[in-house]
Symmetry: C2
Amino acid sequence: MAPTSDAEAMPGAPFSGGRSRDALRAAQMYYLQDLTMNAIARELNTSRSTVSRLLSMARETGLVQIQVNNPTDRTPALEQQISRRFGVQAHVVPIADSVNDSEVLNRVALQAARTIGPLVDSNAIIGVAWGSTLSAVSHRLTRKQTHDSTFVQLNGAGNTQTTGISYASEILRRFGQAYGSRVEQFPVPAFFDHAETKKAMWRERSVRRILDLQERMTMAIFGVGSIGAGIPSHVYSGGYLDHEDLETLEADEVVGDVATMFFRSDGSHRDILLNQRSTGPDLDELRRVGRRICVVSGESKIHGLRGALAANLATDLILDEGSARRLVQA
Amino acid sequence: MAPTSDAEAMPGAPFSGGRSRDALRAAQMYYLQDLTMNAIARELNTSRSTVSRLLSMARETGLVQIQVNNPTDRTPALEQQISRRFGVQAHVVPIADSVNDSEVLNRVALQAARTIGPLVDSNAIIGVAWGSTLSAVSHRLTRKQTHDSTFVQLNGAGNTQTTGISYASEILRRFGQAYGSRVEQFPVPAFFDHAETKKAMWRERSVRRILDLQERMTMAIFGVGSIGAGIPSHVYSGGYLDHEDLETLEADEVVGDVATMFFRSDGSHRDILLNQRSTGPDLDELRRVGRRICVVSGESKIHGLRGALAANLATDLILDEGSARRLVQA
DNA sequence: CACCAGAGTGCACATATGTGCAAGGCGGTT
DNA sequence: AACCGCCTTGCACATATGTGCACTCTGGTG
C-alpha cells in the first residue's frame, strides 16, 4: 500500500508540508480531540505505528507543549518555605530519596529543561554558564521555535589543559539549536593568569561585543559550584585552578561560584582575589538581569547554593527535593 | 498493604494536601521527568493504577496543560487563507470528511474547549452565548484556576414554551465551574414581544448591572445561527420565534445570528426589525470586545458564518475542516 | 542501468496504560 | 457495637502505545 497518490493526496491535505503537516494534524487529534492513535491512523490513511512516530516528532519539535503548573494558591509547602526565606521562586523536582545521584541529575535536568522551555521568548538574550549541570540540561531541551533570540556564553571555558571550547560551546550550541537562536561564544579562558590581561582583553572590541550582549541579557541560566563538601564541581577539579588558587580561595572563605565568580557564605564577593582574573560576569551585573535561573542537583552543592542565595543571584531556583529539604533545615 | 502510616507519611511528604499533592508530584514525574507510571508508583508507595488515576485527576483539574501550537511561520494553508480573506485568526479542527455531524460537533467542541482554556485569564470578564455549539463546548472544558474572573450571559434564553433558564444557565454554570469564576445570568426572554418592553427593562437597574458587565467584557464566546440551509439552529426551531417572526426575518434577508442578534449576508444589521426585540448585545457593542471567539461546527452554518465574518463579529474562529474548506471556496 | 545510502513504512511483539470489580477503610447513624 | 453508604485501593484483564526489524521507495552515483 503506497501512500502516495491514491487517497492521501487530496482528502486530508489542507496544509503545506507533508510530514510535519501530518504531525500537526495528529497532535491536534491526539491531544486536543482525545482520539486514539488507531483512530488517527485511519483518518490519516496510515498505520498506527506511523502515528506514534508522528506524535513523538510533534513532541520533540515543540509542536506540543506540556506544562505542569501548581495553582499558586496551593503551592507545595517546601516551595513556599524556600520562596519566603530566600526570596526566589522555587521549583522543587520531586524525587524519592532512594534515587542515586546521577539519576537525580538526569531528572532534575529534564524537568529543568521543560520548565525553562516556556520561558524562552522571541527577542530574548539569554546567558548560559557551563558545567556538569548545565551540560545535562542542554541535553534534554525540547525544541521550540523563536525569532531573534540569542544565547550568549557567560564565562570563558579554556584552561591550561584544553581550550575547553568544545565542552562549553557544545552546551551553548544545544541551547541555540533547541530554540533556533543565534549563539555567541566567549572564546577566553575561564581564568586569566594575570588580572592585567583581563583588563586588557576587556577593552578589545571582540570581547566588548560579548560583554555588551551580556549587559543586555533578559535571562541567565546557571548552576552553582560548591566548595567544602563531597564531590567538587567541574571548576574545582577540571584543571582550571592550580593548587595555589585553591588555597587562596580557602583563605578567602569562598563557598562556591556562579559562572566562575566566587562568593562567600554571606554572599559577599567584591574583595575575592581570584574574581579579578575570572571571566564570568560581575555579580552586581548579573543581579541586574530580569530573570536568573539557577539549577541545582545534589546535596553536595548545598553550601555553594546557600552563598548564591545569600548573594541574591537567582530569581528562580530549580532543585531536587532532597536538596530542597536540606536547604530549609538550618 | 495499607499505605497509611508506614512509609508514605514522611519520605515523600514535603507538600500540604494529601491526594492533590500526590497528583502534582505524579504529574511532574510523568510529564516533566518522563518516568513510567510504574516507576512513579514505586516512588509514591502506591499501585500503578492509582498513579494512572492521579494523572487523570491532574489532567482534569488543570494541573497539567497541554498545548498544541503551530509555529506561526508554518501555519497550515487553510488557516492562512481564512485569516487573510476574513481577517480572523483561524483554528481549523482537523477531521476526516467521513465523520458524521454529531461526531464533528463533539470533536470541535473538545478542541475548542482546549483552545479557549489558555485564553481565560484572571480578572477577565467573559461573555458567553448559548446554543447547541456552546452547550457542547461547555461540557468539554478542562478545569483551570483563575481569580476574579466573571462569566456573563450574553443574551436571554426564555421563550414561550419554557423559561429556558436551565438550559442557558447550565452552560454558564459549567464555564464558571471550570474556571472557578463568578457567573452572571441574564434572566430575560430571548426576545421580548414588544420593543417597548425591552426599552423599559433596559432601564431597570437589575438589567443594567448585566449590561454594564457586558460593556466591560474582555472576551466573548459564541456560535452562529444560520438560516437558509439544512438543519435550523436552536433559535430557529426551539420555539423562540413564531411563524410571523420567521417571515419578517426572511423578508429582511437575514442569514444568521450571533447571540440572537440577526444580520444579513453583507454583515448589516441595524434596520432588522427583530433586533429591536432581541436581548443580545448590539453588534456594534460586541465588536468593541477585545477577543471574540466564534465556534462553528458543521457545514449548515456556512451562510450564517459568512454573514458574521462580513460583520467582523469575530477575532478568532474555531471551525471544523470541512466547513473551513467550504468557506474558502467561493 | 545497476547499485547504494537514507528515509519512511507496516508488522509483530514488548511495554505501558486504562478500567470494572470486589475488598477494605472510615465516619456517621441506629 | 452493628450497620450502612461512600470513597479509595489493588488486582486482573482489556486496550493502547512504543519499537526492532525487514522491506520499499527515492534520488543520486558509478
